[in-house]
């Protein structure tokens, strides 16, 4: 994998991890999980 590809991919994984965390907190507040 080229360095540019690696950098882009790691950036995507970073933002996806943030989305997962945000989804977790939103789920708790909005959907009140059981």
């Amino acid at each position: 994998m080229m360095q540019q590809e690696l950098t882009a991919l790691l950036g995507l994984l970073d933002v996806m991890a943030e989305v997962e965390l945000k989804m977790g907190s939103s789920t708790k507040r909005v959907l009140k999980p059981g």
């Binding site: 590809e5 790691l10 991890a17 943030e18 989804m23």
Partner: protein, 130 residues
């Protein structure tokens, strides 16, 4: 589900670590070249900023995030990057195995919320059922 999403964030970080340590063992999928990935990142960050500025409701962000997760990480993630590393594959499989349960749970919860505030949620519910 909240715990699972937090767990998924941890899995994504572990995947990131594996790829960082052995980048030569992985190749980007054919459809996911650098510009496409950068476009995805911009789109996600734009939505996060809109949420922070309260331009969209947190409830709507939930569905945006759900669509992103489903389309990028869970449904098509295998096409983003390919690698034979067993640890990587186990982590990917873990996310996938959670997906079916999440989807059913979300449909159920959206149905419940839909009864309380029909117009806004009903729109997303229909989108999810597509």
């Amino acid at each position: 589900m909240e715990r699972a999403e937090t767990k998924h964030a941890g899995i994504v970080n572990r995947i990131k670590k594996i790829i960082s340590e052995k980048p030569d063992k992985f190749v980007l999928g054919r459809l996911f070249k650098v510009p496409a990935i950068q476009t995805m990142i911009s789109g996600i960050q734009w939505n996060i900023q809109r949420l922070r500025k309260r331009e969209i409701t947190e409830q709507n962000m939930l569905f945006i995030a759900r669509d992103l997760e489903r389309s990028i990480l869970e449904n098509n993630y295998a096409q983003i990057i390919k690698g034979d590393d067993s640890g990587f594959q186990a982590l990917m499989n873990e996310i996938v195995s959670d997906t079916v349960d999440h989807h059913e749970y979300l449909i159920q919860k959206i149905s419940e919320v839909s009864s309380a505030s029909p117009p806004k949620v009903d729109y997303h519910f229909k989108r999810l059922r597509r």
